[in-house]
Symmetry: C2
Subunit: 182 residues, 2 copies
């Protein structure tokens, strides 16, 4: 991997294809359960990822490049998808995300080369961060929320596995985050 | 979904494509970290899934159909991959898994229809289970271990996200399973 910009993008460009392979055409019997009792269904997670593409990652990149640490990032609305995406089918949300992600990666790569990764911005709660932190967080945030989708899918079949529940951490953690399988 | 057999298979047939989309060609900088300090790297997880295809899910299906509850399942070797897969590239492991899974799904569907799902077998520790429990566990076990792969990938970039670590549950849980982000 020659470029520090390209390395996290290896993950970022895979997420749309992962969501398609996992969710498109999957029956509602798998996709209508949140990861935890007060958590998010797969459609809410995809909506949250869409919000990130619309209002967060590229806006914060531009803020760093334009204003450095002199103007903090705008705050992120973690619940924007709940009203916005009502009634939109999950398969459509997956394609909306894929389009936004593809466009944003083109724009990011046009704005940022390795030389800019040390540039600094101001997070409203966390304080100073680098553009490199932002790029890597964008990728790890994908991984975090993909894991949340798997937990919702698994939770939909909690009762179907019978006695095996006690060996399946992904089910046990829905009610007890510190549960140890076995 | 007309068939109770087909419904979990909707997940089982997607896993090889997910592993390809996620792991093939991904740089070692992403794939060489276990999910927890004493956990498994992505290659170990794929190896564990291979072991399941080689020795577990179909063997237990046949045991239920042939012997019912009169002969308990053989125990599963959770560490068989550590010696067996030494030196095999991750991309090759992904394709080995994909071939085994495709073959096993054809065989499973040839052996089992909805009418057989109530048949019972004997787990050596858990006691009586149904063939329906086994089939659903096969699918949820995939989801559990896919989540483990995401945790290893995220962990490889723990230090790259800077102050954002505290918002990323997938990183916090590597050292404290009950950690709450934020």
């Amino acid at each position: 991997m020659d470029s520090a910009v390209a390395e996290p993008i290896e993950i970022l460009r895979r997420t749309p294809q992962l969501l398609r392979a996992l969710l498109k055409g999957l029956p509602d019997t798998w996709t209508d359960t949140p990861d935890t009792p007060d958590g998010w269904r797969p459609r809410d997670v995809v909506g949250h990822l869409i919000t990130g593409e619309l209002t967060d990652w590229l806006a914060r990149t531009r803020r760093i490049l334009d204003d450095g640490t002199s103007k903090a990032f705008d705050r992120f609305d973690r619940h924007a998808m709940l009203d916005r995406d009502t009634g939109v089918p999950l398969d459509v949300l997956v394609e909306q995300f894929a389009e936004l992600r593809a466009r944003n990666l083109v724009e990011f790569e046009s704005l940022v080369s390795d030389a800019e990764l040390d540039r600094r911005g101001m997070h409203p709660s966390l304080g100073e961060v680098t553009l490199d932190n932002l790029l890597n967080t964008w990728a790890v945030h994908d991984l975090d929320h993909l894991g949340q989708i798997f937990a919702g899918l698994a939770g939909s079949h909690d009762s179907d596995v019978g006695p095996w529940t006690k060996y399946l951490g992904i089910l046990l953690r829905r009610s007890d985050p510190a549960a140890v399988p076995g």
